[in-house]
Amino acid sequence: MKRYSALALLKAGLTGQRGWDRAWRDPEPKKSYDVIIIGGGGHGLSTAYYLAKVHGIRNIAVLEKGWIGGGNTGRNTTIVRSNYRQKPLHDLFDFALNLWEGMSDELNYNVMFSPRGALFLGHSDSDMTMLAQRGDALRCDGIDAELLSRDQVQKLIPLLDMSASARFPIHGGMTQRRGGTARHDAVAWGYARAADALGVDVIQKCEVTGFTMDGGRVTGVETNRGSIGAGRVGICVAGNSGPVAAMAGLKLPIEAQTLQAFVTEPIKPMIDTVIMSQSLHCYISQSDKGGIVLGGDPDQFPSYAQRGLPARIEKAAAEAIALVPALSRLRMVRCWSGTTDMSFDGSPIISGLPVDNLYLNGGWCYGGFKATPASGWCYAHLLATGASHALAAPFAFDRFARGATIDEAGVGFMPQLR
């Protein structure tokens, strides 16, 4: 693999930027692998990378039915943060945040991680109480959280509607200055290139159609490109976990829902932090290209359509414009949808399953992107050793039956209320 660097770029410039190698190979599937990972999104590719890098397992395939990063990795709003209230969640996401900070160097690939701050707005006294409570929980565990007064919020984002007649009055906020955004496609490409360099086969257009089983034990997968044997198989297809697990006869505590995101025409820099809200499902940030990226509510009923309701577009736009009135002058140029893997406590599942040699990484709801490096790190540990990493142990498949759910929103098994 040719290393990317300023010098290499300069040198290649003398010959018209020709002669670059392809970033990863396009291998034919082998007869068998030590580990097969189903799903070539950020999580699957980072799992393969850490399996090879940290655990020294090189005979690995990542099977992707479409193209890598073409699912939820390329459909989210690219926000990275770790400020969850509950300890298992903020420990996992902060481990991820630490890996985000060094990711571009680690992968020799610019993932454009931009720690521009992730700010939650509070719109009432009770919002501020909730934010303070969450901030205290974070600071007790050494994670940065800063409660901001109304004036501090106004100084940080002068374009917010702070008037007396504001639709959503702003009482203050809480920010995590280490949070921010990253280039989502680059995360998939960077992990794919780095994993490929360590010998991992990244196989695109290879759809898993079933599992080969022997006495209740998974021994490989059936695909549209033939049978492939495997020592261990890891499902990593959040959004489509139900149908893949069903091929092994399993039912999961997960329902699929549609979540949309939107982007406006590109403009000059106007918002230099990530704006979120304690009470609204409204996410506002500005991409490096200049477009204002907006996120809103999921569609709140089961769907794999990857095509959302117009009512949600209207709601997300209305909330964003109420918060930042200047946005009303912009044209929305694109909207798209992803399929969220809504687990029944709002937290992911990184776990073994009741079928031997089969593992699950899924149930990320609408918050998986920010976890990408930690998810891969913990899943690699599980696939290499057969035992859960300490950070992932609370996210076991059997926690629902044990009553040990990790429910940040406290709404139980109905994902549409989350």
């Binding site: 149908p243 505590p253 009923f301 089961p302 629902f400």
Partner: protein
């Protein structure tokens, strides 16, 4: 947008209705714990048809059973919910 043909009110916009849960995940108070857990937490979540309990929340407030396709959103049947 989906239009839902309420058996009580006629065709109405989808936004008037709220999804509750799948029909096979309704739990009764006298159910053994193991069955209740499996009904609450194990979903087929198919990429196809499933039977779902919906409510006409911003209309007649009646419970309805929709047999609906989860990719095309096509509604095969709508019936009154009779427990």
């Amino acid at each position: 947008m989906m239009q839902i043909d309420c058996p009580y009110c006629g065709p109405r916009a989808q936004v008037e209705f709220a999804y509750e849960r799948t029909l096979d995940s309704i739990v009764t108070l006298d159910m053994p714990a193991e069955e209740a857990v499996s009904r609450l937490y194990a979903r087929a979540n198919p990429r196809g048809l499933d039977d779902e309990l919906w409510r006409h929340s911003f209309g007649c407030r009646q419970w309805l059973v929709l047999r609906r396709h989860r990719v095309s959103h096509a509604i095969v049947s709508i019936t009154e919910y009779a427990p």
